[in-house]
């Protein structure tokens, strides 16, 4: 019975992604999704009770300063460089602090509209991922990224530009602030 709990949909998705990245010989992506699968399994198997009592909240000023600083680093340093790595790795402890709080004992009951919206957004995300997968598989089979452009290959020219990198990181961080509710409550 305990083993069956391991068949949480998120575990399946992340293990699937880990094996997919192992197949495409991307060691770092394999490690990221593999570690994520292990982390999720620790939660599935009952370690959900540990953590902060509630989520820390931040004021606009420190959030803005972090976003601007990350944007400046991306603007003035080379893509794929050590500083990009440092900035990205810095967000792991920040993420742990922001997300490892205890779930409320009483959970919100979703409305019909929320359930409908969750399904529709889920189908949208899977569809988008499948479009990317078709492009990726085509580019591998025919060894031709021009005929089968992945999102990465399309964004590469913009992200090779300092301004493009700065804009990307700013939008990426703003989406994180929104998704993880750093300013929500």
């Amino acid at each position: 019975m305990a083993l069956l709990r391991g068949f949480n949909p998120w575990v399946i998705v992340f293990l699937g992604m880990a094996f997919f990245h192992a197949w495409r010989a991307s060691l770092e992506d394999f490690l990221i999704f593999g570690i994520a699968a292990v982390l999720i399994m620790t939660q599935v198997f009952g370690l959900t009770g540990k953590g902060f009592k509630q989520q820390p909240q931040f004021k606009v000023l420190p959030i803005g300063l972090v976003v601007i600083a990350a944007g400046l680093v991306m603007f003035f340093t080379e893509r794929h460089g050590v500083w990009d790595m440092v900035v990205l790795l810095a967000f792991i402890p920040i993420g742990i602090m922001l997300l490892l709080y205890q779930d409320d004992r009483v959970q919100q009951v979703p409305t019909l509209q929320v359930l409908r919206s969750r399904w529709i957004w889920g189908v949208w995300a899977i569809g988008f991922a499948l479009a990317e997968l078709v492009a990726y598989l085509g580019s591998k089979i025919y060894d031709d990224l021009d005929t089968f452009p992945t999102i990465s290959s399309l964004l590469d020219p913009a992200l090779d530009n300092p301004l493009g990198r700065a804009v990307f990181i700013v939008f990426w961080l703003i989406s994180g602030v929104y998704l993880f509710g750093v300013r929500r409550r």
């Binding site: 949480n8 998120w10 495409r24 010989a25 991307s26 770092e28 992506d29 990221i32 570690i35 994520a36 982390l39 999720i40 939660q43 959900t48 794929h80 990009d84 790595m85 990205l88 967000f91 993420g95 997300l99 205890q102 779930d103 409320d104 959970q107 919100q108 509209q113 929320v114 409908r116 919206s117 969750r118 529709i120 957004w121 949208w124 479009a131 990317e132 078709v134 085509g138 990224l145 021009d146 005929t147 089968f148 452009p149 992945t150 999102i151 990465s152 290959s153 399309l154 964004l155 992200l159 990198r165 990307f168 990181i169 990426w172 989406s175 994180g176 929104y178 998704l179 993880f180 509710g181």
Partner: protein, 70 residues
């Protein structure tokens, strides 16, 4: 139509659909809950928080640090 056109068009169509869904959620919350409400609901669960964070963080890593595999 050639493959590049089909693939790029499919990305654009999904982006447009995403914007439309977000708009419908804002304008007709009685039909479709706004995206922010869905996010607030799913983020109640720590497993979803971890999963979402890992995907979000991976996107940053993938585009900024990782090399595009050709």
């Amino acid at each position: 139509m050639s493959w590049p056109v089909v693939i790029i068009a499919s990305y654009l169509i999904f982006i447009v659909i995403g914007i439309a869904l977000a708009g419908i959620g804002k304008l007709r919350p009685d039909a479709l809950a706004p995206f922010s409400e869905v996010v607030e609901y799913i983020m109640q669960h720590r497993i979803t928080r971890i999963a979402t964070f890992m995907v979000w963080w991976w996107l940053g890593w993938h585009f900024m640090v990782g090399e595009t595999i050709r």
